[in-house]
């Protein structure tokens, strides 16, 4: 339907509706707009606006009394004398005023809210809200100093008087650089996050509400006022607000619950505008309907693409990469997929400013050329990361099942009411709230409340074993909210650890001397796991290892008692795999090797009993882990064994990927496993044997990349694979080596030069160039003497490029010198070889 058709349709529906009662309107619209909720929202919003505009426009303009508008000037309102009118707006007028008693000379702004907007309900609400607003004291939030109600019944707010310009205009008029703009924006984030922590959502963030004073201080206005107004008439106001599209989030337009994530979205729009000078939407803001649709449905172009042209201040290159990802993350349609909090958005921007890797970009792993051991460590780390994700999925399922069980038990046993209350706090309410994005603060409140009950209950729990176990479950739950590693949590690892330990103490008491014999042993095993994670996050490896050991001992004992349980056996395997990781990362390669062997054996037994995809996938991880640990040895026998294990891992993955060919992460795991085997063979001096494996992984990576060209991880995977293939060919066929390296560089770079802000990508780029220099050198040596000059000069040119970029990076980031030394050394070698040859 064209815009014109839509308008005519809206008009027809509106005309029909005004003849109907509200109930009939509802029914009518449900019927007429069944397939078009946007149309329905539009008509309803107009009806709501009509309902609250009784006398609006009814008195002709010329007949209105224009002299009455300054009637407040000179009058006393509360403790203030009104000096002049500053302006008028949707909610009423704003006056400049001073204290009538002359106690303080500063001027203030008084916002007088239009009587027509202040219904009875709203006045009550206003009295309650002003307390909250007055408590919002933050250097970047314009303070509410006082509030009251006039004799005539109109509410007013006394606020700090801010003289400034809207933030977007400030950026332009002061000619701020990208960095300065982001720093200014971080101040805004700080204020918004602060308000969120005080359970206040702005709901109406836009440049007009974010002023910057002459001395560059950001001040946010009207915090929470939208809420006060919305309280006046829930439906109508939300509807009206829903139609402020440019800075509205999709959920606001759809009239869904507004959360802190809605403010984050508005901040995303703001940042977009501050960086590009334009709106993320194509539609003219006057075309409300189309714009609202665009907000809900269309993905905005990347800021770097939206920038009209490079200016002296902002260039596409500066926006490309990190900033594109960050802005688009804040602008995701689904609140749950945005940053979990405004703080996280700010953290990511800060990381970008500090040139650290940002979280908005998918994490990646590297297995490109470099010293063999260093590369190998990176790879095992990456595989571990994939393993963690898989294990986490399994744990989550288990956890759900446990909760369900706990619910049933509770119903059956009729615990006393306090206990039910605590439990409903913990489980039902929390789980509901957890679904809301950005609800961490509310969850924290819940946690604190629940802990009060829990501590009380646990003192009274006496010898009731079932109650103690249930309490332990609750403590674990609280701890997970506080700080389970790898999840959306409050980041309070210390508090989390305390609660995990409380749970362990309760379980120790409840389960007696042989906890493994009790059915609740699983709760204890989970408690050990969680505690180990928290200790790791707190940097206490000694205690972490103790906790891991307790987990191993417990699950193994249980396996003795219940040798037929596949589930218990898998637990044992996971426990050993976890310790292998820990030892590998803490300088104990022998211990890591032994544990990884045990883990692999255990998983073999698991798979023998239940060859599900997940179990076989985990087995492949375990095999790879053994292989990696063997590669760190220096004897040929170990290396041969390593290859054997890596081959087993590959064969396992081949069968897994074959059974579920559409699962992208399994496909990737297969390609990674094949690539690892191929490159390990090359590292052991057998490039010709390694080649087929890299050729096996190449098309898989290519397919994954082709299916989603914006996937940076897939891009790096593919480039790495080409680069590894290049390294292999250097001794076998230097010309092919050169072409593979060039392919890698092509994939890495639509980028003309290493992007300084993306450390991972720039390292990959420089690494590929280093290998390319070596490949050119090798190719030069392989050509007839008369034709060598060209090859050598290409080698020297490439090596010099590497030296220049690498030295530049190390100069700026001395902490990276370790990583870059090898590129510099290798390029120097190529440089001197080519200079001699020339």
């Amino acid at each position: 339907m064209s815009t014109e058709d839509r308008w005519q349709r809206t008009r027809a529906l509106f005309h029909a509706c005004i003849e109907l009662s509200p109930a009939e309107q509802d029914e009518f619209l449900s019927r007429e707009c069944a397939a078009d909720p946007g149309m329905r929202a539009e008509v309803q919003s107009l009806l709501a606006a009509l309902a609250s505009s009784n006398s609006f426009l009814e008195v002709p303009a010329a007949a209105a009394d224009v002299s009455g508008e300054s009637s407040w000037i000179g009058r006393i309102l509360g403790a203030y004398r009104i000096l002049s009118l500053l302006g008028a707006g949707g909610m009423g007028e704003v006056y400049r005023a001073v204290r009538a008693d002359g106690l303080y000379p500063q001027e203030v702004a008084i916002k007088l809210i239009r009587r027509g907007l202040a219904g009875e309900f709203m006045l009550n609400r206003f009295r309650a809200e002003r307390e909250i607003l007055a408590s919002l004291q933050h250097p970047h939030i314009a303070r509410i100093l006082d509030a009251g109600i006039t004799d005539g019944g109109a509410p007013y707010l006394v606020m700090e008087l801010i003289k400034g310009v809207p933030i977007d205009q400030f950026c332009e008029s002061r000619g701020l650089t990208v960095r300065q703009r982001i720093e200014l924006f971080l101040d805004v984030c700080g204020a918004v996050h602060f308000a969120h922590q005080h359970l206040t959502i702005h709901r109406d963030l836009k440049p007009g509400n974010i002023l910057v004073t002459d001395d560059g201080q950001v001040k946010l206005l009207d915090f929470g006022i939208a809420k006060v107004l919305a309280a006046g008439d829930g439906a109508a106001q939300t509807q009206v607000h829903a139609m402020t599209p440019e800075y509205s989030s999709p959920e606001q337009i759809r009239n869904q619950p507004i959360t802190t994530a809605s403010d984050e979205y508005a901040l995303g729009v703001l940042l977009y505008r501050m960086l590009t000078g334009r709106s993320p939407y194509r539609t003219d803001s006057a075309d409300t309907y189309t714009l609202a649709r665009e907000v809900c449905e269309a993905d905005p172009p990347m800021p770097s693409a939206a920038l009209a042209s490079d200016s002296a201040l902002v260039t596409r290159n500066q926006l490309r990469g990190d900033l594109d990802s960050i802005v688009l993350t804040a602008l995701r349609k689904e609140p749950a997929r945005r940053y979990a909090s405004v703080q996280q958005l700010a953290d990511d921007l800060q990381r970008h400013l500090d040139q650290r890797t940002v979280a908005a970009r998918p994490r990646t792993w590297r297995y490109a050329a470099g010293r063999f051991v260093a590369r190998n460590r990176a790879l095992s780390f990456a595989l571990a990361a994939i393993a963690v994700v898989l294990v986490a999925g399994i744990l989550a399922t288990e956890h759900q099942a446990r909760i369900a069980a706990a619910e049933r038990d509770r119903a059956q046993r009729h615990f006393d009411s306090v206990r039910q209350l605590a439990n409903s706090f913990m489980f039902d309410l929390h789980d509901e709230i957890a679904k809301l994005p950005g609800s961490i603060k509310a969850r924290q409140l819940l946690v604190t409340k629940a802990l009060t009950y829990l501590d009380m209950l646990s003192r009274e729990s006496g010898s009731d074993r079932a109650l103690q176990v249930e309490l332990a479950e609750a403590y674990l739950h609280v701890g997970r909210v506080q700080g389970e590693v790898g999840y959306d949590n409050l980041g309070d690892h210390k508090g989390a650890l305390e609660n995990f330990q409380k749970a362990i103490a309760l379980l120790d008491r409840a389960l007696g001397t042989d906890p493994a014999s009790r059915p609740e042993f699983m709760t204890l095993a989970r408690a050990y796991n969680l505690a180990a994670g928290a200790l790791g996050a707190l940097g206490r490896p000694q205690e972490q290892l103790e906790m891991i050991n307790k987990g191993i001992a417990l699950t193994q004992r249980r396996l003795q008692l219940q040798p037929d349980s596949v589930e218990v056996r898998a637990w044992v395997g996971r426990a050993y795999f976890g310790r292998a990781q820990f030892r590998g990362n803490h300088g104990d390669p022998d211990g890591a090797l032994a544990d990884s062997r045990t883990a692999a054996q255990t998983y073999e037994q698991v798979v023998a009993r239940d060859s599900s995809l997940a179990n076989r996938n985990n087995l492949a991880f375990a095999y790879s882990n053994v292989g990696e640990n063997l590669l760190t040895k220096s004897d040929d026998a170990s290396h041969a064994q390593a290859i054997e294990y890596l081959t087993r891992a590959l064969n396992t993955m081949r069968s897994v990927a074959h059974d579920d060919p559409n699962n992208a992460s399994l496909q990737r795991h297969l390609a990674v496993t094949a690539g690892e085997l191929g490159f390990s063979l090359a590292g052991l001096g057998k490039p010709r044997e390694g080649l087929p494996y890299l050729e096996e992984s190449q098309p898989i990576f290519q397919r994954l990349y082709d299916s989603d060209r914006s996937n940076r991880l897939a891009q790096l995977d593919l480039a790495d694979n080409d680069e590894n293939t290049c390294s292999l060919y250097i001794t076998l066929d230097p010309a092919k080596a050169v072409s593979h390296c060039q392919a890698a560089l092509r994939i890495l770079g639509a980028l003309p030069s290493p992007p300084a802000s993306d450390l991972e990508l720039s390292a990959a780029y420089i690494e590929a160039q280093t290998v390319l220099a070596e490949a050119y050198a090798a190719a030069a040596e392989a050509t007839p003497r008369s034709h060598r000059a060209e090859g050598w000069s290409a080698a020297r040119r490439t090596a010099e490029t590497v030296l220049q970029s690498a030295q530049e990076i190390v100069k700026q980031k001395p902490e990276l010198s370790g990583q870059y030394t090898q590129f510099i050394t290798r390029s120097r070698a190529v440089q001197s070889r080519s200079s001699q040859a020339l």
Partner: protein, 208 residues
């Protein structure tokens, strides 16, 4: 001002009603000047202003400026239409001047919900806007805001915008509006309600 019909205006009006577009160009400045005089007189007559609600300036101007013996009833409609548009311009100019004087000419952003973004077609620093249901529409800020919102509505639905111009700025009744636009009273009423709702919403959203 004596009720002496201005024959120049009358003749031009007849010519325009009969289809001469050049006549309108000549007519507009004449009516503008006359109406501004009328409006100024009304604004000075402070307390009396409210008594003029039913017969607005447009009616008064018609009575004063145009020969009532004119045979064409269309002439009245044409006059109402052009006079309402002129009335709008006068009131908006007046209101802008008032606001500018109040701000002392300087641009100062204050902690208000007043809109900061520049609205198309509005010169000067800021268009202060007013929300939907005011008790007394007609402060200077309201007038400017309504004018801006009306310009937007005009792009979407020309006839609804005309209805608002005739009724709010021109002070015409439903019947007169229907005659000017050659549509039924029922349509005027329904479109009037929709336009009111649209404008109220538009102004609340840019203002609140």
């Amino acid at each position: 001002m004596a009720a002496v019909p201005d024959m120049q205006i009358t003749c031009l009006l007849v010519a325009w009603s009969e289809g001469d577009p050049e006549a309108l160009k000549a007519l507009t400045p004449l009516i503008y000047d006359q109406m501004r005089l009328l409006a100024a007189r009304h604004m000075r007559r402070e307390s009396g202003a409210r008594t003029l609600q039913t017969t607005g300036l447009v009616h008064e101007a018609f009575l004063r400026l145009v020969d009532q013996k004119l045979p064409h009833w269309q002439s009245r409609s044409h006059f109402f239409s052009i006079a309402s548009n002129i009335m709008r311009r006068i009131l908006v100019d007046e209101a802008r001047a008032r606001l500018a004087a109040k701000r002392g000419g300087g641009l100062e952003h204050v902690s208000i919900d007043a809109v900061q973004e520049n609205v198309e077609g509005v010169e000067g620093p800021v268009a202060l806007q007013v929300a939907g249901p005011p008790d007394e529409s007609g402060t200077s800020a309201d007038i400017v805001a309504i004018d801006c919102a009306l310009a937007k509505l005009d792009r979407i639905d020309r006839r609804q915008a005309q209805i608002v111009e005739l009724r709010f700025f021109g002070g015409l009744t439903v019947e007169e509006t229907g005659q000017v636009l050659n549509i039924s009273n029922a349509t005027v009423k329904r479109d009037w309600m929709m336009a009111k709702a649209w404008l109220a919403r538009e102004m609340t959203e840019s203002g609140a």
